[in-house]
Point group: C2
Chain length 127, copies 2
């Protein structure tokens, strides 16, 4: 399978697939023309990576998860720990964003949004 087939099947851009090879997440073979040749195993890995990235895992987390995925004698506790840490970071981010949202909503609401210069948003920023 060539890269564009893999791109289509996994939903990942070819560029991203090349990048994942560059950073050592996958290691497709090469044909004698120099083209990458992908087997089903690579396809599965890439789908795995795509899904993990969708869930917001960092590339380093993905690397760890992939290693655990391939290790038949893994402990599910290790996987769970990675996911739990990540979940916590997500929760922190949501909390941050919600604070921003609350403030911004308030400010946007209180601003007349007309052609006059007076603006509660700028007043808040300059406070």
């Amino acid at each position: 399978m060539n890269i564009s087939d893999v791109a289509e099947k996994t939903g990942l851009p070819a560029k991203t697939i090349r990048y994942y090879e560059e950073i050592g997440l996958i290691a497709p073979h090469r044909g004698q023309n120099g083209y990458r040749v992908f087997a089903d195993a690579h396809l599965h890995k890439l789908a795995f990576l795509g899904r993990a990235r969708t869930l917001g895992f960092s590339i380093e987390d993905c690397r760890t998860l992939l290693a655990l995925y391939e290790d038949d004698s893994r402990a599910s506790a290790d996987v769970r720990a990675v996911a739990k840490d990540h979940l916590e970071r997500i929760n922190e981010k949501i909390a941050e964003f919600e604070e921003m949202r609350a403030t911004l909503q308030h400010l946007v609401q209180s601003c007349a949004g007309d052609d006059r210069p007076d603006c509660p948003i700028l007043r808040d920023l300059a406070r």
Copy 2:
């Protein structure tokens, strides 16, 4: 005022203040020794920037907001538009993160987290 005083007063790292100068957000004077010399106006601008960044505005948004802040004949509608756009982006991000959170919470809950290899998290990623 030297940069470390400003850093302390604004809560911004000195490095960040230099960076903001580099990208043209502020333009402190220089003493004959080459040191940056900050006036109160710079301090206010930096505080403004710090606050705007805390609310998640991009640097480019900050540039726009700062320009509006300094423009006495601004229309509050312009400020409001920037804030509203940003609010919308925040809402989108929260939605994304909440989707991740829901999935991750479910997966973390359903994983035993023991020393056995069986793991619903990996099964989901590999699905």
